[in-house]
Point group: C2
Chain length 237, copies 2
């Protein structure tokens, strides 16, 4: 029997998709989930995703290394910001990091009553898809979006995962978002970087000089690590 | 100066788009806004869109003709359901109708603090676009979706309107939903009925024998009437 696949295009729609039996994949390509996958590839021990600036400050005061930004700007009391290039082996190996971003980190706990919450990006694409196929459960992919709105770059990655899972034959869907995301991915896949030139986040990052990581964030399969939420922490699956 | 255009892909995301200075267009192609445009084309005096079954019952008791359904089923105390074919001149001319559906009618009041709320469909497409171009204001198109989820058929019509408005040169956008909806519309436009074969609502209507109106609901420009919310009521603009 095939398992159902759904895509939730914005955290604002999560209530309509929520299912405690499902495995949830969080996608925030520019840049939170790309950075998290990078951190694990570079040997981080654990990451504590936090929603608010206040929570970030508390963890910093407790001695955690803190990565934190809002709207692309590094918080003044943070050790570094949200670029995946910050999470170097020198900085993160064997460390516990608290991490707070505008969109992605706040929603990771939103789905914590589900069967499992894992982190997805292009960087761990194939390992993630293989693992999802082995779960024999419904999968819901949540796009972090931008301040509860839809965004293109997360939708494309969700579409890429959905195309692979549906074509793999173990998943089916009755979710219109899956069809839309796959069709957009098929339009964009031969030149994703070119396609997302029109994305709002592309302009935001360019305007702030933070767009150096966009190509990197769209590389497939730089790691086979799948970060998973365990209580309050993301750890290696 | 060009005006901004946004598309809100589900009522669940409306808070993130809300702007009291904007003109809001409500789209619920299968079937509420197609039926409303049909009713006005056939001479209805006014339509009172109501969100809840209880409100519908109160208006029925007050003597209003009542069109009402949930999940495609006509409410037992209603005069008729949600098919545009119900709103014939014989039934609706000069009448005041209370109208309650699963998705579309509940959201019309949600945006009532905006500059104006109008009803859009393929049936009044060109008249609507011309009128929107004359407003010289930001426009937000809200897709009714399905129970707060994204749907394909409303997104395609929003994409059709967006393509026309952007190509007309008086609108611009920084909203990723607009780009996605236009791209999906361009994929689908040469065979919209074929494209929405995969839409969940297509199957729902087929399963209930309610799909006779799908072709009709995708006809362009059957009327030049734009229904507009005036207080609690939809009237001819």
């Amino acid at each position: 029997m095939k398992n159902n696949l759904e895509i939730c295009l914005s955290p604002a729609m999560y209530e309509a998709h929520s299912d405690t039996e499902a495995v949830v994949v969080i996608i925030d390509i520019l840049r939170a989930t790309s950075s998290i996958c990078t951190a694990f590839a570079n040997g981080v021990r654990e990451i504590i995703p936090v929603a608010t600036v206040d929570e970030a400050r508390v963890l910093k005061d407790k001695g955690y290394l803190l990565a934190a930004e809002r709207d692309g700007y590094v918080l003044d009391f943070a050790d570094f910001g949200n670029s995946p290039f910050n999470f170097t082996p020198e900085k993160v190996r064997e460390k516990s990091i608290a991490y707070s971003t505008t969109n992605g980190t706040g929603i990771m706990h939103m789905a914590s009553d589900c069967h499992a919450v894992v982190i997805g990006s292009y960087l761990n694409f194939s390992a993630l898809c293989v693992w999802l196929e082995g779960q024999k459960r419904k999968v819901i992919i949540i796009c972090a979006g931008w301040k509860k709105r839809f965004n293109l770059e997360d939708t494309l990655c969700a579409g890429a995962i959905a195309e692979r899972l549906i074509e793999g034959g173990r998943f089916t869907t009755v979710c219109d978002s899956v069809h839309a995301a796959i069709d957009l991915w098929r339009l964009a896949k031969h030149d994703v970087i070119g396609y997302i030139e029109k994305a709002a986040q592309r302009s935001r990052l360019r305007d702030k000089g933070l767009d150096d990581c966009i190509g990197y964030c769209h590389n497939f399969d730089m790691t086979d690590i799948i970060p998973v939420l365990q209580g309050e922490r993301l750890v290696r699956l």
